[in-house]
């Protein structure tokens, strides 16, 4: 269901009225009831690491399953992962886009955007047909924070737009969560700085779910039987977080002949995944 809400109308979201009073009208497509649910914004840089993407997806899924609406901006990277995690869950997902709701930016998210429109909610401050410009993103970020009860920043470099969302959240008095990362990683510089300045570090997803007064619902048990070599690799990967295949060879002493094969089997079993030459535990 698509339409437009004018300020003063009964359905006009109260949170927008309070936190962004200058907004006069909102274009939407999808289920407006999602705005009434407890909600968490999951945002972060377009350019991010496999770690950030993975956690964004997990938070999206975890919060969605627990019944909270997951809000994000449908941009590349973190936003996309958060939406993918949350779409189709109990809480659902809300995408705040910078252009008109019939515009697809970035174009590779076309299918995801259509899915959210039918399954969740898409909102925009711009009329249909409007193509977003760079200056449309800060106000979009403000709306993301406005309609959410909390904001979780996954990864942000020092100049990321996600930090704007965090600033708005602080002004609007929302909870700000930040995902801690390696202090040597530029992608975690912004989030680590936020934690230093008082944001709540995300230690486990359950903590956030508890903060919302919800209870976590686990996926059905995903127990996969593993062989000896597989166990060894998974243990080492758990210990170090991420390793290249060379490092795995050094740490496990499993010969490259077998190592590649075992890792592929683990990938097929869905226990590990690889990106840019590194391996991670799912």
């Amino acid at each position: 269901m698509a339409g437009v809400l004018k300020k003063g109308e009964k359905l006009f979201p109260e949170k927008v009225d309070i936190f962004a009073p200058e907004v006069k009208e909102i274009y939407y497509e999808g289920n407006l009831e999602l705005l009434e649910k407890p909600s968490l914004a999951v945002v972060g840089s377009r350019k991010c690491t496999a770690y950030g993407k993975k956690i964004a997806g997990e938070i999206g899924k975890g919060m969605g399953n627990a019944g909270a609406a997951v809000v994000s901006g449908l941009a590349r990277g973190i936003d996309t992962e958060a939406h993918i995690g949350a779409v189709g869950t109990e809480g659902g997902t809300i995408a705040v886009v910078a252009g008109g709701i019939d515009q697809f930016y970035p174009s590779e998210n076309r299918d995801l955007q259509k899915k959210i429109a039918s399954d969740g909610l898409i909102i925009s401050l711009k009329p249909q047909g409007y193509r977003c410009k760079p200056y449309d993103f800060p106000i979009r970020n403000r709306i993301i924070s406005a309609i959410s009860d909390g904001v979780a920043i996954m990864e942000a470099t020092s100049r990321s737009g996600a930090l704007i969302t965090a600033e708005c959240a602080v002004e609007q008095g929302k909870n700000v969560y930040a995902l801690p990362g390696n202090i040597s990683s530029v992608y975690s510089f912004g989030t680590n700085t936020l934690i230093k300045e008082g944001a709540t570090p995300i230690v486990s997803i359950d903590d956030m779910i508890n903060d919302y007064g919800l209870s976590s619902k686990l996926d059905e048990d995903k127990y996969v039987p593993l062989g000896d070599g597989e166990m060894r690799i998974v243990e080492v990967l758990r210990e170090y977080g991420e390793l290249t295949i060379e490092q795995l060879y050094k740490k496990t002493n499993i010969h490259p002949y077998d190592l590649n094969g075992i890792l592929t089997v683990l990938e097929i079993k869905g226990v590990v995944f690889s990106a840019m030459g590194k391996f991670f535990v799912c």
């Binding site: 590349r76 970035p106 060379e246 050094k250 002949y257 190592l259 590649n260 592929t264 030459g277």
Partner: protein, 510 residues
């Protein structure tokens, strides 16, 4: 008096017999040359005149008419000097012409009468032999190159005086006979070795597979992860060149003018590393008189394309035909020629424009859309023809100090063993390597019939988001891995390892 002297010219990659007819008749002194000769040949007149004068011979002061037949072919090059000079000497009665028809002559003259090195001599000698010529006289600087051809007497000469003495039975020239057994099973020493590469054991494993089965290889990795270093060492683990291979490669280098005193023949597998701004003509071969390009110079060796994404799309598209047919056909106005181009394709690229996307220690300066743009350039029809993908990460300091490094010799032994198995297998087929198998042969030699393998591959297909083409590549590579293992049948572990080299799709999702 009329004389006929035999020589040859090069057309494409083959020689063509040419007869130089010289007639000396009374008249005003002059030199008249007919038969579609180019400038270098027309200039020969002055070189011959000086060379004969400086060698104690006489340049006839009368009318000299020379015809080069067949007259329909354009003739180019300075190697006709010697044949022209011999023709003049024979016509003026300065040399005996009783045995002249058994000889062929190739060589460029210096003003002092010495013979200079000549390019393209090898295909000419081969053609002469095939035309039943028994003796050839060539410059001594081309000795080693000429010695490649067997079943023919090759005489090497330093200067025209020696040739005159030889033909007049005064002093015999040095004679050489080619022997192909000299070239088979020769030990070749390389300047580089895989033991120079510290760490990167998994990459070495992947390269062993790619050489064993002739699979194309694509490497992605940030700067200083060792892409070029690894690629440069690939020829060291390929089987030593056989006589026929040496002959084919040397012919290409001979007509390209790339042989010299230090490298008289190509007995080491070529490693070609063209720059990414290369033009189409230099890449596949070309010019009004076609010359072999980089893909032919890499024949029987490695063609390494660094910064693969930076190459011109049109240039890269040209790789299709050679990758399938192992040769390239160039059609020109006057002739069309076929150059062999049977090479191992190795491509490499950074993950992004600045090179550091995904790198732990450096900061990538590209925006996400720049990264995606850069990587999109790497997809396309040619990537479909590259079987193996490898992601490289820079080695840490600990690995640099590591003593335990697989050397080229060990890797080459493994490759040779797997090649031998393939030779046996494809004895009755017209292919020789696993990478050349088509759908029917795949079903024959890499059957998927056991229920475990079927289940494993179907799970892999959906979980790892494969497509039919990657599936084919995976089966080919699995066959090679099994061969390296000495296994008759392709087992699950072979498939599992080969899946690790599927690449691309999984990187782009990062």
């Amino acid at each position: 008096m009329l004389s006929k002297v035999k020589t040859a010219t090069v057309q494409g990659i083959e020689g063509q017999m040419i007869t130089v007819e010289t007639d000396i008749s009374p008249g005003l002194p002059g030199f008249y040359l007919v038969g579609q000769a180019d400038t270098a040949i027309k200039e020969a007149k002055d070189r011959i005149r000086a060379a004969l004068g400086n060698s104690g011979c006489e340049y006839p002061r009368t009318r000299i008419t020379v015809n080069m037949s067949p007259a329909g072919i354009r003739k180019r090059g300075s190697h006709f000097d010697l044949a022209l000079a011999i023709g003049i000497l024979a016509s003026s009665g300065q040399i005996r012409d009783d045995k002249l028809q058994e000889y062929c002559f190739i060589g460029e003259l210096s003003l002092d009468g010495t013979l200079s090195r000549t390019d393209g001599i090898l295909p000419m000698i081969i053609t002469m032999r095939n035309n039943g010529i028994e003796n050839i006289i060539i410059p001594s600087a081309n000795e080693e190159e000429g010695a490649l051809v067997n079943d023919i007497n090759i005489y090497v000469a330093d200067c025209i005086e020696q040739i005159v003495n030889h033909l007049n039975y005064d002093a015999e020239l040095k004679k050489i006979r080619g022997d192909e057994n000299l070239y088979n099973e020769r030990k070749i020493k390389y300047n580089v070795d895989f033991s120079d590469v510290k760490g990167q054991e998994t990459a070495k494993r992947a390269i062993t597979i790619c050489v064993a089965g002739g699979h194309g290889l694509f490497m992605m990795g940030s700067p200083s992860s060792g892409k070029t270093m690894l690629a440069e060492r690939i020829p060291t683990i390929m089987p030593p060149m056989k006589y026929e291979e040496i002959l084919e490669s040397t012919v290409i280098y001979s007509i390209s003018g790339l042989l010299d005193k230090e490298n008289p023949i190509i007995d080491v597998r070529p490693f070609r590393h063209p720059h990414n701004r290369i033009t189409q003509a230099a890449f596949i071969g070309g010019g009004a008189y076609p010359k072999p390009g980089e893909i032919s110079l890499a024949h029987k060796g490695v063609l390494f394309l660094d910064e693969f994404g930076e190459f011109d799309r049109g240039v890269i598209e040209n790789l299709r035909q050679p990758l399938e047919k192992k040769e390239i056909i160039l059609n020109r106005k006057e002739l069309s020629c076929i150059y062999p181009a049977d090479f191992l394709l190795v491509a490499a690229s950074n993950p992004c424009r600045c090179g550091y996307y995904g790198d732990e220690t450096h900061n990538c300066k590209c925006t996400m859309s720049q990264v995606l743009n850069y990587q999109h350039k790497l997809s396309g029809p040619i990537m479909d023809r590259i079987d193996m993908n490898l992601f490289l990460t820079p080695v840490g300091y600990a690995e640099l100090e590591d003593e335990k490094n697989t050397s080229s010799e060990i890797m080459r032994k493994r490759v040779m063993r797997a090649r031998k198995i393939q030779e046996e297998r494809f004895r009755n087929e017209d292919i020789s390597l696993n990478s050349e198998m088509d759908g029917n042969l795949l079903d024959l030699y890499v059957p998927i019939d056991s229920p475990e393998i079927k289940k494993f591959l179907s799970e892999a297909y959906t979980r790892l988001k494969l497509n039919p083409r990657t599936m084919q590549k995976v089966r080919k590579i699995a066959r090679t891995i099994a061969d390296l293992d000495g296994a008759e049948e392709v087992k699950i572990e072979h498939f599992a390892e080969s899946l690790a080299y599927r690449g691309e799709a999984s990187w782009l999702e990062y």
